[in-house]
């Protein structure tokens, strides 16, 4: 089983996690460590605390607690003993680990001119385990096709956190880039895909090389601010499709408009809930969504029976 992410934990925590049933370990989504509080894991949309003997419980009082020493060790390990090389990451509040996994951090912030400069006294960790789900995009893709252009439509994928946006985006990139996205009977060639991976989550790049399969014709600009990255990619890599994760700042909108005018297709994701009536989007996103920039909207949700999605057209009317 591939569990390279286990090696980021100090021995005490790792041995507890290794005692979990294999099935659970495979489905593990999050490992949460909070100093002086119970060790928590999330799997399949449910949460458990770990007991000292490796058993599971939902009763916080029976759970094993992690101490100062463990959080100190954990931080030391995930930063390669060099917190100072992670200043940018600490400003953003998370660190990307080998394999595209992401360690969220919380603690006490240090401000400079009213902006977060740094997090110190880090006491809360949340490892989000990234998993490649090949075929995650299969059911969504047919709704996003531009039949005449043999390409894809401008699409915005909206969902609350942890509903599979990034997984879907990654698989879309793989499918479009490898040419397995056209209608069943036709054979469309793969397109040049450019991913602006600001948080190193889509491709999980290490030293510039993607750790996930994002397709053979895909270029990744890793750790790059989205707006700037979009412009750089248009200028330098002549992409057919640009993919960005979690848009939402004013400059992102400007860059997206630029990309649309350059004839590049855009697939983007954003935090939010729903589309059309009853949607909960940030004002800026709502403006972008209403501005006829996008031709398709996909809203994701996750229930008891796995992922569900709905597709809307450019007018935000439901198609599915």
């Amino acid at each position: 089983m591939d569990a390279a992410w286990l090696s980021v934990f100090p021995e005490t925590i790792r041995s507890l996690l290794l005692r979990l049933p294999e099935q659970l370990l495979k489905e593990l989504e999050e490992v949460r460590i909070r100093e002086e509080r119970p060790l928590e894991i999330n799997a399949g949309g449910r949460f458990y605390f770990l007991k000292a003997d490796g058993g599971l419980t939902v009763n916080a009082r029976e759970a094993v607690r992690t101490g100062r020493e463990e959080s100190h060790r954990l931080l030391d390990l995930i930063t390669n003993h060099s917190v100072y090389t992670m200043e940018e990451e600490l400003r953003k509040g998370f660190i990307t680990l080998p394999g595209g996994h992401r360690m969220g951090l919380s603690g006490r912030t240090v401000l400079s001119k009213g902006r977060v400069e740094h997090i110190r006294d880090i006491s809360g960790f949340n490892l989000r385990i990234a998993r490649e789900v090949k075929g995650a995009a299969d059911s969504v893709l047919p709704h996003l096709l531009d039949i005449r252009g043999k390409s894809v439509l401008h699409t915005l994928i909206v969902s609350p956190p942890q509903q599979g946006k990034t997984t879907l985006l990654r698989d879309l990139a793989r499918a479009i880039s490898s040419g397995s996205f056209g209608p069943a009977r036709e054979k469309w060639p793969g397109l040049k895909v450019a991913i602006i991976d600001e948080r190193s989550e889509i491709a999980g790049s290490r030293k510039g090389v993607p750790s996930f399969d994002v397709g053979p014709r895909t270029d990744v600009m890793d750790g790059c601010p989205k707006a700037e990255g979009i412009m750089m990619m248009i200028r330098s890599m002549s992409p057919d499709v640009i993919m960005v994760d979690e848009i939402g700042r004013p400059e992102d909108a400007v860059a997206l408009v630029e990309a649309l005018h350059a004839g590049v297709r855009v697939i983007a994701t954003a935090h939010g809930k729903g589309i059309g009536s009853g949607a909960a989007l940030s004002p800026l996103l709502a403006e972008m969504a209403g501005g006829k920039l996008f031709q398709r909207f996909v809203s994701l949700s996750r229930g008891e029976h796995g992922f569900r999605f709905r597709v809307f057209d450019g007018e935000q009317k439901p198609l599915l």
Binding site: D76, H81, Y84, T85, L90
Partner: protein, 172 residues
Amino acid sequence: MLKMLGAIMILLAGTVAGWIQARRFAARPGEIRRLILSLQRLETEIGYGFIPLPEALRRIGAQNREPLKKLFTDAADAMEAPRSWTAQDSMHHALKANWSNTSMKTPEREVLYQLAFTLGTSDRTSQKSHIQSAVRALETEEAQALEEQSRYEKMSRSLGLLVGAFIVILIY
């Protein structure tokens, strides 16, 4: 005849002991200076190079002579897999294992020991200020070591011979 031989051996031993002691006095300021330069190099690697700590220590080790070389590379080794100790534990371990090979004394060791608690655990500005304060502490020790050298180096050399002679006289 045998007595004579014994006396010569005692004299020789005294002289050698004196020389060794003198060498320690002579070597200490030089080692402290090299340690200071190494820490300044570390400051540059951290402050401007964003080089991760194990890599930075390895580079500094490679540039140094023994015994400092081993001090730094040992610390880097302990930080990396398979041991993957914390920066603090690795430095403390390396100090423990290698300090007796240096001519430096407890105050210098204490400076590095204290520095190990903060090494790698904060942002660049604070790392730089921690290293700078360690460098300042070492500079004070260096001044003192130079003074001790000028005062005691020659003295311990002659003292060794004299103590040897004294023992010989007592025995005779």
